[in-house]
C-alpha cells in the first residue's frame, strides 16, 4: 500500500481479508470441526440405537438377517459395527435396481441381536458436514464457489498474518491479561501460532478438494476439456469387479462368513468395515471384505479389499491399487488429512481440537477488530458500520453454536412420526440463528454477548440432562455399558456448556473492574451502548 512498509501492508491486508468473510469462515470452521465427528453425531441423534453393543459374531448374524430379509436381492451391503458406531447398517438392492450410493432399502440392525432398530428421520451430522462446504438452500455449485473464495481469503489471511508478526514465536509466549486490545491480540496470536500447521494444512487442502472446480485451466488446457480422460490417465481409479464366472448361475447356499472375516482380521489391524455380497444365494455369489481405515495416505487412504467366491469360499483375485505418482501422492495426503476418513479416535480428537482452535482464532480476530476501534468510537460516537460488525460478531460467534444447540434439541423434542421431520430440525437451526441476529442488534453489545453465551450454556448442559430422564438412561447408562460414542458426545456437550458459562463469568467480572476504573484500557468486549 502507498506509504506503508511491507509488514504494515500485510497487516492491512490481514485485517480486511479476515473481516470481510470472517463470519462465513468461522461457520465453515465450526461445522467443519464438528464434521470430524460426523458419524458420532449422527449416531447420537438416533437415541433409540444407543443401547446397541457390537458383538464379535455381528458379521455372521447380519448375513443371516439379510438371508431372512432379502434372500432375492442382487446385492447386500453390510457396514459392520465399529468404534464410531456400534450398530450394523445394511442396505440391499433388488434384481435390476440401479446400485446407487443412497438407493435401495436400508435398515439399521442392533450390533448384537441383529434385530432392526427404530430410525428417526434426521440428517444428523450430515447436515453440519454438508453445510461446511455447500451451505444450505442454494445451488450446490454456487455454494462451493462461495466457500472456495472464502477459503482462498483464509489462505491470504494466514500468510499475511504470519508476515505481519515478525516475532511470531516470541509473540506466542506473550500474554498480557486484562489489557483490552493487547490481551485480545495475544490470544489471537497464541491461537494462531499454536495450531498454525493445522490451520495451513486444513485451508490449503480445502482448496485442493475444490481445485478442479476453482482452477480447471490446467486440465482444460492439456486435455481440451476432457476431464474423464485426465482422471483415467491419472489412473488410481481401478474398478473393483470380479471376472465373470464361466459356469451358469444356479442356486447355491452362501458359505459362512465368519472364517473369511477372521482371515481378514488377521491381516488388517483395524478389522473389517464392510461386507458386500453380490448375487447372494447363487453359484455366482461374490463376497467382498473391505478394510476399515487404511494403512497409507499416499493413495488417499484406500482400503484394501479381499474377494471370495460366495459358494465355494475360494479366494478371487483382488484388484490392485495403482501406485500413485508423486504429485497425486501430495494431493492424496492433503485431501486425506482434510477428510480424515482413515483416522482413529485420538487423531480425530486432535484434529477436532485443531478445528476448535481455528474457530477461536477467527472469532478472536473479529473481536479484536471491534475492540481496537472502541476508543475511536467512544470519542466520535456510534457508527453504523461498527454497530453492524458488533451485531454480526455476537450472532456469528455465539449465535451459531446456539443454532447448533437448537438443532440438537429439535432432534430430541420433535415427534418421531412428524411429517418432514428432518427438515424441521434444520428449520429450528436457522430460526434460532435468525433470532440470535435480531437479538444481537436489539440488545446492548455486552448484554447480547452475555445473554447468548448464557443461553448456549443452558442449551448444551440440559441436553445430557434431558437424555438422562428420557433417553433410556443417557450418559450414566452409556458409561456403564462402556459405550463411549454416545457418552463422548454428552461429555463434550457438558464441556462446551462449561466453556460458554466461563464466557458469561468472564464478562461479568471484567465489567466490575471496568466500572471501578473507567479510565483504564481494560474494556474487554464492552460495546458502545449509551
Amino acid at each position: 500500500m502507498n506509504g506503508l512498509g511491507f509488514r504494515q501492508a500485510n497487516s492491512w491486508l490481514h485485517t480486511w481479508s479476515g473481516l470481510l468473510l470472517g463470519w462465513l469462515l468461522y461457520a465453515i470452521f465450526v461445522t467443519g470441526a464438528l464434521s470430524f465427528f460426523r458419524d458420532e453425531i449422527s449416531f447420537w441423534m438416533q437415541p433409540t440405537q444407543h443401547a446397541s453393543v457390537a458383538h464379535a459374531d455381528a458379521p455372521q448374524r447380519a448375513v443371516d438377517a439379510m438371508q431372512a430379509m432379502a434372500p432375492d436381492a442382487s446385492l447386500w451391503s453390510i457396514t459392520l459395527p465399529g468404534p464410531r458406531n456400534p450398530t450394523t447398517q445394511v442396505r440391499w438392492f433388488e434384481q435390476g435396481e440401479r446400485r446407487s450410493k443412497f438407493g435401495g432399502q436400508s435398515v439399521v440392525l442392533d450390533g448384537t441381536t441383529a434385530q432392526p432398530l427404530q430410525v428417526r428421520e434426521s440428517r444428523g451430522g450430515d447436515f453440519l458436514y454438508r453445510f461446511h462446504f455447500e451451505l444450505y438452500g442454494m445451488p450446490r455449485l454456487a455454494a462451493r464457489w462461495i466457500v472456495g473464495i472464502a477459503t482462498m481469503m483464509m489462505l491470504v489471511a494466514i500468510i499475511s498474518g504470519v508476515i505481519t508478526h515478525k516475532k511470531i514465536f516470541v509473540d506466542f509466549f506473550t500474554f498480557r491479561p486484562r489489557k483490552g486490545q493487547r490481551s485480545w491480540m495475544d490470544v489471537h496470536n497464541a491461537l494462531a501460532v499454536l495450531a498454525l500447521p493445522f490451520h495451513f494444512m486444513i485451508t490449503y487442502s480445502g482448496l485442493l478438494l475444490l481445485m478442479f472446480m476453482l482452477m480447471p485451466w490446467g486440465v482444460d488446457g492439456a486435455y481440451g476439456g476432457d476431464r474423464q480422460a485426465f482422471f483415467s490417465e491419472r489412473g488410481n481409479r481401478a474398478a473393483a469387479s470380479a471376472p465373470a464366472p464361466s459356469t451358469d448361475k444356479v442356486p447355491a447356499d452362501l458359505i459362512a462368513v465368519t472364517p473369511l472375516v477372521r482371515q481378514a482380521q488377521a491381516m488388517w489391524p483395524s478389522g473389517v468395515e464392510q461386507i458386500t455380497v453380490t448375487d447372494p444365494g447363487t453359484s455366482h455369489a461374490v463376497i467382498e471384505l473391505r478394510e476399515r481405515g487404511a494403512g497409507s495416505l499416499l493413495d488417499r487412504g484406500r482400503s484394501e479389499r479381499l474377494l471370495f467366491n460366495g459358494a465355494s469360499g475360494a479366494p478371487l483375485e483382488s484388484p490392485d491399487a495403482a501406485k500413485p505418482d508423486a504429485f497425486s501422492a501430495i494431493y492424496n495426503v492433503f485431501s486425506s488429512l482434510h477428510l480424515l476418513r482413515f483416522a482413529d479416535t485420538w487423531l480425530r480428537w486432535l484434529f477436532f481440537i485443531g478445528g476448535v482452535l481455528g474457530s477461536a482464532m477467527v472469532a478472536s480476530g473479529m473481536v479484536l477488530w471491534v475492540v481496537k476501534r472502541l476508543p475511536q468510537r467512544r470519542k466520535q460516537g456510534s457508527h453504523l458500520g461498527h454497530r453492524v460488525v458488533e451485531g454480526l460478531n455476537v450472532a456469528g460467534i455465539a449465535g451459531l453454536p446456539v443454532a447448533i444447540g437448537a438443532y440438537f434439541w429439535a432432534n430430541r423434542l420433535l415427534p418421531v412420526s412428524m411429517q418432514a421431520r428432518a427438515d424441521w430440525e434444520i428449520k429450528a437451526f436457522f430460526l434460532a440463528w435468525a433470532a440470535c441476529l435480531v437479538h444481537a442488534w436489539l440488545r446492548p453489545h455486552r448484554k447480547a454477548w452475555k445473554e447468548q453465551l448464557g443461553i448456549l450454556s443452558l442449551l448444551l448442559a440440559l441436553l445430557p440432562a434431558y437424555d438422562l430422564l428420557h433417553g433410556g438412561g443417557g450418559l450414566l447408562a452409556a458409561l456403564t455399558r462402556g459405550s463411549w460414542v454416545a457418552a463422548g458426545m454428552d461429555i463434550t456437550l457438558l464441556a462446551f456448556a462449561a466453556l460458554s458459562a466461563a464466557g458469561v463469568w468472564f464478562l461479568r467480572s471484567d465489567r466490575a473492574k471496568t466500572s471501578k476504573r473507567p479510565a483504564a484500557a481494560s474494556e474487554g468486549m464492552e460495546g458502545v451502548s449509551p
Binding site: N2, M215, W217, G218, F230
Partner: protein, 105 residues
C-alpha cells in the same frame, strides 16, 4: 481505513485517492491474480517435463500458492502502478507461451 503513514518519502493520498488506490489494487489482486494463476496453471500443465497428468496435478497444486503470493504482492507493492506493472510482466510469460501454442495448433 485510515492507516499510520510510516514513510514520509511517499506522497500521502487524499481520502478519494486512497479509495481509488485500494480499488485498483483489489481489482489487480482478485481478477488479475486469478487470471495470472489460471494462465500459469494452463501453461505449466503443458510445459512441465512430466507425464501429462502429473504436469496438470503439479501445476494445479501450485496454483493457489501462486494466487496467494500475487494477492499479497498487489497490496504490498510501493505504489499501485508498480503492482500493476510487475504483475503485467509476470503475466507476459504464460500468456506468450499459451498464445504461441494456440497459434501453432
Amino acid at each position: 481505513m485510515s492507516k499510520k503513514k510510516s514513510s514520509s518519502s511517499v506522497r500521502k493520498l487524499s481520502p478519494a485517492g486512497h479509495r481509488w488506490n485500494v480499488a485498483s489494487r483489489t481489482v489487480l489482486a482478485v481478477a488479475g491474480g486469478y487470471a495470472i494463476a489460471a494462465m500459469a496453471t494452463a501453461s505449466l500443465s503443458l510445459a512441465l517435463p512430466l507425464p501429462r497428468a502429473q504436469a496438470v496435478m503439479a501445476a494445479t497444486l501450485f496454483s493457489f500458492a501462486l494466487y496467494c503470493a500475487l494477492i499479497i504482492w498487489a497490496y504490498s507493492a510501493g505504489t499501485a502502478r508498480r503492482a500493476w506493472f510487475v504483475s503485467a510482466l509476470l503475466a507476459a510469460l504464460p500468456a506468450g507461451h499459451l498464445a504461441m501454442r494456440w497459434a501453432t495448433t
